[in-house]
Symmetry: C2
Subunit: 400 residues, 2 copies
């Protein structure tokens, strides 16, 4: 019986909580991502890597890379080596669908993935884990599937190329692709309950579907899961995702060599903070904490003005004197995600920290930056009909 | 979260071992099936039920029913009620495929199932759990699938009606039927690790695929797993199987009402004993313990003469005086399975127990009874080509 050694990562009371189900930081500046890199055993995306990326691709690095929003990786050098050698890989990412509208935080990995797709011109596979949602929540199979379709349209509106993007939801696709179930079995054979418990914290009173679910998020990281795309070619995989999904892929990377498949490479993103502060990530279940992709300009304005946690001082006088704290200011943090112009961002930082710029002015810049982003998104979203969606879901060959 | 109460059945050192992976009796007369009925909480198939069966169907009961070879049931009265009311149900049985040739013991549930199909004229679904074999043994996915196809041909040769028999192997079919995976998820959501541990004895060092496997044997007992056969009709299910498979269906019967589906009814068979004695069932892994479906007449003759445990006395004189013991004599036990003529069987019993018939004579009758059975089977088996097999595997509508 093939079993793997899995690093079980112990966590102390001082540590931030970051797993697929819970994310919360201990400090008002948010999660300590450097500490997380150590704990997870991943590698930091440093200047050297960003420079190598620019050299190999001939393109300027995305501001998510330049600013450490994608901050951690596993084996990204291997992917750059492949690209340098003219060899292909594929991209894989995904989402656990929800009934609520998606928010701007959900878009971060997808925006970056679209950019990677444009740069590398490789196939992209997007998994919607509606089975996970049905298993973890009191949600019917039928409703979970509908949530997956709705979310798929939201994701498509990010602008993925229909020519080389394949989107699927587990509850339909697993029943349409024998190779998927066969790879699930191969993976399930390599992981014991004890190992799953160590990685994911499962307990004896968890339902058996939860315990086996990790095999379902792992399978798409193996190219043999998609024979209609890759034939029987072994094609390496790069997974851009938020850092909370890393446990699934730590497991996958332990299993892959046992199945004579390459370990997937990873690029990990930080979380877009909640309006109320950097300890928490933006969450769809709290409407006041989030800017949704279907919010109106008025809603965006009101939410930022009313809720966005400020790093400014209590009075104008004090602010002018001491300046604002950009390391805890949510409006400023949002600008690091959404304002592409590095110079402009540096000016704002300087002006705010010197006290020259007030919180109200900073909030206005955040509103003026995020609102057109959401409006442009909404215009694209309006074009995503059922017919458009169908093109992405079609089981079909995709040119490598 | 929908969770079920499952009877965890405790077992003492004195009890026979009967579970999906191990069967062994403590006594030389074999497994104490009456005790097993109590332990499992099933019901005995008594004369009253057999008589009711004959009344409701207008047919003589199969000798497996008359002689207690099918000895236990759950809710079989419900099935007879349905038949009386002109309503339909379906049959579901299966097999964990193996690389060895199937033996005559494997055929018992299938022979009886064929007869039930002939009597009731209902659809029959046969599951080949090649995924189970890949999970439990050091067998590759590809080899497990091939074993399933080979075993399917062996099963088809029992004589199932291709018009209303659907055969599938998990490793291919789950990836061709979204409803199957969706029902797996529904079932997996109702059973905790603790419950699976209680029913199946799983431990923390078992791989996650084993822990979730029971949902895969349970799913075909729900008619909604096969929309291409049943549409969205809720059709009750009757499962003829060896008693060792009962744990899967105890679990299924606990889960079904939570999914608003009828509990499957069951008919349980005893085991055909090994040649060496009734403590063990016939096992494909010991060629000297088993009569295989591809054995030659000479092999059958030699095996019975050489290995079939005798209930006769040590010397002819002693035997003439004391008579033979049919309760431990394997040749006689085989006749209860394969000699249909009740009168003839009674004569043999009388003659052997009185000492009038010697072991050699009894063995000759067993050889002369089993050999033509195997030869007729082999003639049918020779007709089962790939094309013939394909008809049974075709995903298609079956008339109820």
């Amino acid at each position: 019986m093939a079993e793997v050694q899995v690093n079980n990562l112990s966590i102390t009371d001082d540590d931030d909580i970051v797993d697929p189900w819970n994310v919360s930081g201990k400090s008002e500046t948010g999660i300590d991502y450097d500490k997380l890199i150590k704990r997870f055993g991943s590698s930091k995306i440093d200047n050297e890597l960003v420079e190598r990326f620019e050299k190999v691709t001939g393109q300027r690095a995305h501001h998510f890379l330049r600013r450490g929003i994608f901050f951690s990786h596993r084996d990204f050098h291997t992917i750059l080596n492949l690209h340098e050698a003219g060899k292909k890989f594929y991209l894989y990412t995904g989402r656990g669908p929800s009934s609520e509208s998606m928010h701007i935080g959900h878009m971060i990995p997808f925006m970056f993935t679209k950019w990677l797709q444009d740069v590398f011109k490789v196939p992209l596979i997007i998994q919607l884990t509606d089975d996970e949602k049905a298993m973890w929540k009191d949600i019917k199979i039928e409703d979970a599937r509908q949530m997956a379709y709705n979310n798929a349209k939201d994701i498509i509106a990010v602008g993925f190329d229909p020519k080389n993007t394949f989107i699927f939801n587990d509850l339909d696709f697993i029943g349409k692709c024998p190779a998927f179930y066969q790879n699930m079995v191969r993976i399930q054979k390599c992981v014991t309950f004890n190992q799953a418990k160590g990685i994911f914290g499962f307990g004896e009173s968890d339902v058996i579907g939860k315990i086996t679910f990790p095999s379902i998020e792992a399978a798409p990281a193996l190219s043999t899961t998609f024979p209609f795309i890759f034939g029987d070619k072994v094609v390496p995989c790069l997974i851009p995702c938020a850092i909370d999904q890393d446990p699934y892929f730590r497991m996958t990377r332990d299993v892959a060599p046992r199945l004579k498949m390459p370990k997937p490479a990873l690029l990990h993103s930080t979380f877009l903070p909640a309006l109320q502060g950097a300890q928490h990530k933006m969450s769809a279940s709290d409407p006041n904490a989030s800017i949704f992709l279907n919010d109106t300009p008025k809603q965006i304005k009101n939410k930022i003005n009313k809720y966005a946690f400020s790093g400014g001082q209590a009075t104008v006088e004090e602010h002018r004197q001491k300046g604002g704290n950009t390391s805890i200011d949510i409006s400023f943090k949002y600008l690091t995600f959404f304002l592409e112009d590095d110079e402009r961002l540096a000016e704002i930082k300087k002006a705010y920290e010197s006290g020259e710029m007030l919180t109200g002015e900073l909030k206005k810049i955040a509103i003026d930056t995020i609102t057109p982003y959401v409006q442009e998104y909404q215009a694209r979203r309006a074009q995503v009909t059922d017919d458009v969606m169908q093109r992405y879901f079609e089981i079909r060959q995709i040119e490598l």
